[in-house]
């Protein structure tokens, strides 16, 4: 008989959600996490869209360590000497299911892991899951140093690098055009300064994405999120583009945070952490095999992220994958059948949920973003030129705005604009 019904590798959002749901249904569950505490190896930009966690823990934001509820969205197109920003401030995202929150993973993941532990899970933390134990070629548990821990099923929620997912043969090595690398600074600022600087009340937050100059025209962009008493500012660049860069990622990051639009927003702040993380961005094209006999793949390990340029999602998919994996394992236990005949129901559940529906809807988004480099260089320049023409008064004889703007648009190529616009409507 196995030591546990289920072993979960990784106490991130996917792993802890799955562990909690399985323990609540009476399964014996072990969670193994390599950080000193849950969240200690995890990084987000970051914003959590609340809906999927709301389904598991209704009203979670009242007790969970969320930072601020986002009421303000900004999107900027930056060149080296200009920045055009769309600013949307709204109270329409107040409903629990449409809310989103800034979070810091060290604190947030520790809260969620504690929920799993309260529900009855055993938690090994810190502990490494070094290898999968195989019995007649089928997964039968994990090896952690000298220890062997056996289970009927192993849930791999071990993050984007998922070495165990590769060893289990569920996923291939990550392709450089399917992942982006992000780096981030957490900059401490007094609560009142953040409120004043970003036009927010105490519990309100802002999400700000930047395209163009921050990534030096490469596929990627900058971000800024407000927490209670800090802001997260960072930069994400697709790896296949970054390898061709002449500038180093940390130098691009420094240039971004020192740029004219950013510097005053961070002034007087104190750097308290510098972090980095890999982000799966291949969408449906990098979807691995999600299950096999006695093993499932969850969250970032399964590549469940979606970047549309204006929304960046991963944590809500991770939570949903945890919940759906748990439902599948609970069914497997009832049937006393942990073979893939039952476990493949996990993929069916994902297909029927928003998770894989979203991935299918936006299956062309990664390719569109990757192959439309104009979004990251020419279009920010075009926007800057148009607004320069609009606002510049220098005493030279004025002309009709259209006469000023049309040559600029022609230069970018009206055909390109129409083509990219059309492709965007079909991908994003």
């Amino acid at each position: 008989m196995a030591d546990y019904d289920a072993i979960v590798v990784g106490a991130g959002l996917a792993g802890s959600t799955a562990a909690y749901c399985m323990a609540k249904a009476g399964l014996s569950v072990l969670v193994i996490e390599r950080g000193n505490t849950a969240g200690a190896k995890n990084v987000t930009g970051g914003r959590l869209y609340a809906h999927s966690l709301e389904d598991v823990f209704p009203g979670f934001a009242d007790e969970a360590p969320v930072e601020r509820k986002i009421v303000r969205e900004r999107v900027s197109m930056m060149t080296d000497d200009s920045c055009f920003t769309a600013d949307f401030h709204s109270s329409r995202f107040n409903e629990p299911h449409s809310a989103s929150y800034t979070v810091l993973r060290a604190e947030f993941d520790a809260w969620l892991a504690a929920k799993a532990e309260e529900a009855g899970c055993d938690v090994v933390c810190p502990g490494n899951a070094d290898e999968l134990i195989l019995d007649n070629g089928k997964v039968a548990g994990i090896r952690s140093g000298e220890d062997e821990l056996t289970s009927d099923v192993v849930l791999l929620a071990d993050g984007v690098n998922s070495l165990l997912g590769q060893k289990a043969g569920l996923k291939k090595e990550l392709a450089p055009n399917h992942v982006a690398v992000g780096c981030k600074e957490v900059v401490e600022l007094p609560r009142g300064v953040i409120n004043d600087r970003f036009g927010l009340n105490d519990a309100e937050g802002m999400a700000h994405l930047f395209a163009g100059a921050p990534s030096n025209g490469m596929v990627g962009g900058g971000f800024l999120y407000t927490n209670k008493e800090s802001v997260c500012v960072g930069l994400v660049v697709t790896v296949s583009d970054l390898v061709k860069s002449s500038a180093r990622l940390p130098d691009l990051m420094e240039k971004f945070r020192e740029s004219a639009p950013l510097k005053p927003l961070l002034a007087g702040g104190k750097l308290v952490e510098y972090s980095a993380h890999l982000v799966p961005e291949g969408g449906l094209h990098m979807l691995p095999t999600l299950s096999d006999d006695h093993v499932l793949l969850l969250g970032d390990a399964a590549g469940l992220c979606l970047n549309l340029g204006y929304t960046v999602r991963g944590m809500d998919y991770a939570v949903a994958s945890g919940q759906l994996a748990a439902q599948t394992v609970i069914e497997a236990r009832e049937k006393a059948d942990y073979s893939n005949a039952v476990l493949k129901g996990y993929k069916d559940r994902l297909e029927q949920s928003f998770v894989l529906k979203d991935m299918r809807t936006h299956k062309n988004a990664p390719e569109f973003i990757e192959h439309t480099s104009r979004m990251f260089n020419e279009y920010p320049e075009l926007v800057a030129d148009v607004f320069t023409q609009m606002f510049k008064v220098d005493g030279s004889p004025s002309r009709l705005f259209l006469k000023k703007a049309l040559p600029l648009v022609s230069r970018a190529g009206i055909f390109n604009l129409i083509k990219d616009g059309f492709k965007a409507t079909r991908a994003l």
Partner: protein
């Protein structure tokens, strides 16, 4: 602020004598070596004047980007997670 100064605010426990990344520079092609110096968010891959590659494991943020970039050259870069209780511990994340 340079990246070394930024890393100095982070909390690391270095597993002395037991690096979780082992590099074999002789197996690399020039383009991949150059890529490593660019992609590492911690700037841990550097070249000296003669072009020799140097790698410092202390300060690794465990993102795995170097692993992905070097994956097409078998055996060039051994990448594992640090042993439990070692490596970076994010206090914010």
């Amino acid at each position: 602020m340079n990246v070394e100064q930024k890393l100095s605010v982070d909390k690391f426990a270095v597993d002395e004598g037991n690096p979780h990344i082992v590099l074999h520079p002789e197996k690399f092609d020039e383009a991949t070596l150059k890529a490593l110096t660019v992609i590492c968010p911690a700037g841990l891959y550097t070249r000296d004047e003669s072009g020799r590659m140097a790698f410092e494991v202390a300060g690794c943020l465990e993102c795995g980007t170097c692993r992905v970039v070097a994956a097409h050259i078998p055996g060039a870069l051994e990448w594992n997670y640090p042993r439990a209780s070692f490596g970076v511990q994010f206090r914010y994340g």
